[in-house]
Symmetry: C2
Subunit: 133 residues, 2 copies
């Protein structure tokens, strides 16, 4: 595979770019889980969960094995745990940086809901532009 390995890297990160998949990996970081256990821990429909598991399987991040009547998933590469951890670090730093910036601005807007740190300077949310169809 000599195609730009940027492609491969991007694909790896994109695989982690889904809340359910992140959560699955975090659960599997603690210990192996059967599908129905994951299902109980994550609010998701069975088929959706299965789809996400398939994505993780396809990129080689997790492995499945049948044990009796259930299918148990486990992490293939331990380094994955470090990757998740590194992600948390970056997220923490970015949010801290944004809060820091926020403090230098005028008093905050109407705080109807707290707990959400999203300074207008650089919201972590993607784009929400015109909606008209």
């Amino acid at each position: 595979m000599r195609v730009p390995l940027y492609q491969a890297k991007a694909e790896l990160f994109r695989t982690l770019g889904h809340p359910a998949r992140i959560r699955i990996l975090e659960l599997l970081s603690e210990r192996d889980h059967a599908v129905h256990e994951l299902l109980a821990a994550i609010e998701l429909e069975a088929s959706s969960l299965s789809q996400q598991l398939a994505v993780l399987r396809r990129t080689g991040l997790v492995r499945q094995q049948r044990i009796g009547g259930e299918v148990v998933y486990s992490i293939v590469v331990p380094a994955t745990i470090d990757l998740l951890s590194a992600g948390r670090n970056v997220l923490r730093a970015v949010l801290a940086d944004q809060d820091h910036l926020a403090e230098q601005l005028d008093p905050p807007p109407s705080p109807s809901t707290k707990g959400a740190r999203r300074p207008a300077t650089a919201p972590l949310t993607p784009r929400r532009k015109t909606r008209s169809a």
Copy 2:
């Protein structure tokens, strides 16, 4: 919102889920770059590059500042470099794991054992068509 956390993490990873953005971050990991420098290093149209930079800016991973006649970008959070590094580690391990499996599949299929399961491991290869690379 009890758990916008996974959402935020997923967004962070998804931000890295694009070849151009990975490449940009890797270049910026070495040193600050002006936009035209990035443009020279990455095969991409100016407007596309600008859009990817905007994505990175929105998530707070990079910062822009005007210096003379050019705009210079730099990494905001140093931990980002570690994140990229962690990604490389995982990718390396996953690919190694797949190669390892591939070696065991060399002999042609002679299925006779009932308990044998299918490989269940697909290469990291994308099915998406690459229009240019």
